[in-house]
């Protein structure tokens, strides 16, 4: 796998987990585990943005896999 692919996998996992925790874990539980910064809505917004990054990384990974499986056709150069 290319370097970009490895980065995409790592970032997708990291931002996916962080985003899911900040978005979907109830506020009381977040405070208990020491993630009670800011207001609830701020945490949700940061979580949603992290989830967007995760999905975009997965999308990038899919495009890399697709390009690997189906190489782009190079246009024939006119002599």
């Amino acid at each position: 796998m290319s370097k970009a692919g490895v980065w995409a996998v790592v970032a997708a996992f990291f931002f996916g987990i962080v985003g899911s925790i900040l978005t979907f874990v109830p506020p009381q539980n977040l405070v208990q585990i020491g993630l009670g910064f800011g207001r609830h809505n701020d945490r949700v917004l940061i979580g949603v943005l992290a989830l967007i990054i995760a999905v975009v990384c997965v999308y990038k990974l899919l495009t890399l896999v697709w390009e690997y499986k189906v190489p782009r056709k190079h246009s024939k150069k006119k002599k």
């Binding site: 949700v44 949603v48 943005l49 967007i52």
Partner: protein, 233 residues
């Protein structure tokens, strides 16, 4: 990564987000749903992040456009359902229904298509004027809502700054000014000129000088950003 690619993606994301918000805000006032400053700001942030990230990391085109049009509205819907309401939803109808994901997706799809297929790939005047006037509308609308807040108004009062009729009238004025600017020699300065003209229109209706200055920026900023990408290919 190419620095020019980053700047172009940034300009692209800003204009597409603003144009999408304009279409969405028009739909809201046409269907008697509240346009609330807080949600407009969050919606713009989420959509902007989606458009920018996909444009920078994956690229621009038909498939990235479709993915952007779906991901942005879904992400906003997740925020909307999880976050604590900032407006009394028993009094104001907002984007509660799942149907709004489709509305937002269509609005974003139209804005993305206008920008990518009609402005970046072509050099037509009409789509340019349509997109710039659409992008200028939420800036102007947001400025009016912010004015209400700055003068001590409540969140609820910001929802009533524009009706569908006034929004449409402002959009027509913006469109005419921008289209006339595109008839001038192709450069950045007609955008400033269109902004000044919009400021003068405001002064005729006895707005303050600061308000008129804001109106200049409202037109000039989207014009310059879109001009940066006009006919890029």
């Amino acid at each position: 990564m190419d620095q020019q690619h980053l700047w172009r993606s940034l300009a692209f994301a800003i204009v597409v987000t603003l144009a999408m918000n304009a279409l969405d805000m028009l739909y809201h006032v046409a269907t008697n749903t509240a346009v609330h400053l807080h949600y407009v700001a969050v919606k713009a942030t989420v959509i902007f992040a989606t458009v920018l990230l996909i444009a920078v990391i994956v690229g621009r085109g038909r498939t990235p456009g479709i993915v952007t049009s779906i991901l942005g509205p879904v992400a906003f819907y997740i925020y909307y359902t999880v976050a604590t309401p900032t407006l009394d939803r028993s009094l104001f109808t907002l984007d509660e229904a799942v149907w709004y994901v489709v509305v937002h997706a269509i609005a974003l799809g139209i804005a993305y298509w206008l920008m990518q297929s009609q402005i970046v790939k072509n050099k037509e005047r009409l789509p340019f004027a349509v997109l710039v006037s659409l992008a200028a509308l939420p800036l102007y609308w947001g400025w009016l809502m912010e004015l209400v807040k700055l003068t001590g108004g409540l969140d609820e009062q910001t929802t009533t700054v524009m009706t569908f009729g006034t929004a449409l009238l402002v959009l027509v004025i913006l469109f005419v000014l921008v289209y006339l600017a595109t008839l001038l020699p192709r450069s950045w300065w007609p955008g400033i000129l269109a902004g000044v003209a919009f400021g003068i229109v405001g002064l005729l209706f006895r707005v303050t000088l600061i308000d008129a200055g804001a109106r200049v920026l409202v037109v000039a900023v989207p014009y310059l950003l879109t001009y940066f990408l006009w006919g890029e290919k």
